[in-house]
Symmetry: C2
Subunit: 173 residues, 2 copies
């Protein structure tokens, strides 16, 4: 069985949408998702990075994220065909650890806790396939790399791209 490594934020969970939502609720600022296109992660918002980090450090930020369309259905099938691991860079946000685990239990109940990894730097994991929205996570990976499309990665062309979970299914199932 081939090992497949799947990221959480902006792959399974709509992290970008969560920032848009919280900025609107907290500051009344409307951020258009398309306005973030082609801008490095965190730089497209009309707020400084420290303020965005502050939101991500707050309770319930990760717990209440929306699930990406079709990810549940496709991942459940992938889970039968691959040795699947969910690998998330979570260590920067201590409160996110418990919340991300609870989030996965709710939305992807077919996953076993043995399949979940929270780390700081993804160079520590190895496998056959990795799906991630951040080029620096893919760069250090030993297997085949898939860039999952997000507004902040449209300017990168060095990886095979998967635009949504329907495409993930077509490519890997």
């Amino acid at each position: 069985m081939k090992r497949l490594i799947v990221d959480m934020d902006d792959v399974l969970a709509d992290a970008t949408g969560q920032f848009i939502k919280i900025i609107k609720a907290d500051r009344g600022l409307i951020v258009d998702r398309e306005s973030l296109n082609h801008k490095q992660e965190g730089t497209g918002f009309p707020l400084e990075r420290e303020i965005l980090t502050g939101y991500a450090l707050k309770e319930m930020f990760f717990r209440s994220m929306e699930v990406k369309e079709n990810s549940q259905r496709v991942l459940e099938k992938l889970n039968r065909q691959y040795e699947l691991f969910i690998v998330s860079s979570a260590m920067e946000f201590p409160l996110s650890l418990y919340e991300k685990l609870e989030w996965l239990k709710e939305h992807f109940p077919f996953l076993h806790w043995k399949q979940i990894v929270f780390c700081g730097k993804k160079s520590i994991v190895h496998g056959d396939f990795m799906i991630d929205d951040l080029p620096h996570n893919l760069e250090t990976f030993n297997g085949h790399k898939f860039l999952f499309t997000a507004p902040h990665n449209l300017q990168f062309n060095q990886f095979e791209r998967l635009n949504d979970w329907k495409e993930v299914g077509e490519r890997l199932l």
Copy 2:
């Protein structure tokens, strides 16, 4: 720089001592550490595994563990000579995630969050050296394996053994 992977429970943290302490406090039972020798992890205690798991699921169980003798001094030096990662099987105990991170921050303040990994199954990580007290974690590792002595692993002889942190320093520094 070679990559060194170090476990937490019964390597950096005295998990066995924590069980002994809590069993005494909660049930008045005195467990002699030597009575656990040569018995598989969790089976040497005069309590069923479910009860032990129950203790480990409680708040502060991981946060209040004692640090293993000499581990701070030796690990700080190793941190300068190796690409060091702390990899702990923590996912079974959701409350442990935050507590283990806080514990590391307190006792090993020289570690960066990028060096910390909480997982369920250690076959996901790769590196040059691994120090662990559990043979099944070492078995799936691709690099050189060191068994860190604990009462529950005295019966295993298939790995190079390190008896304490002084020996770790002598072997790896």
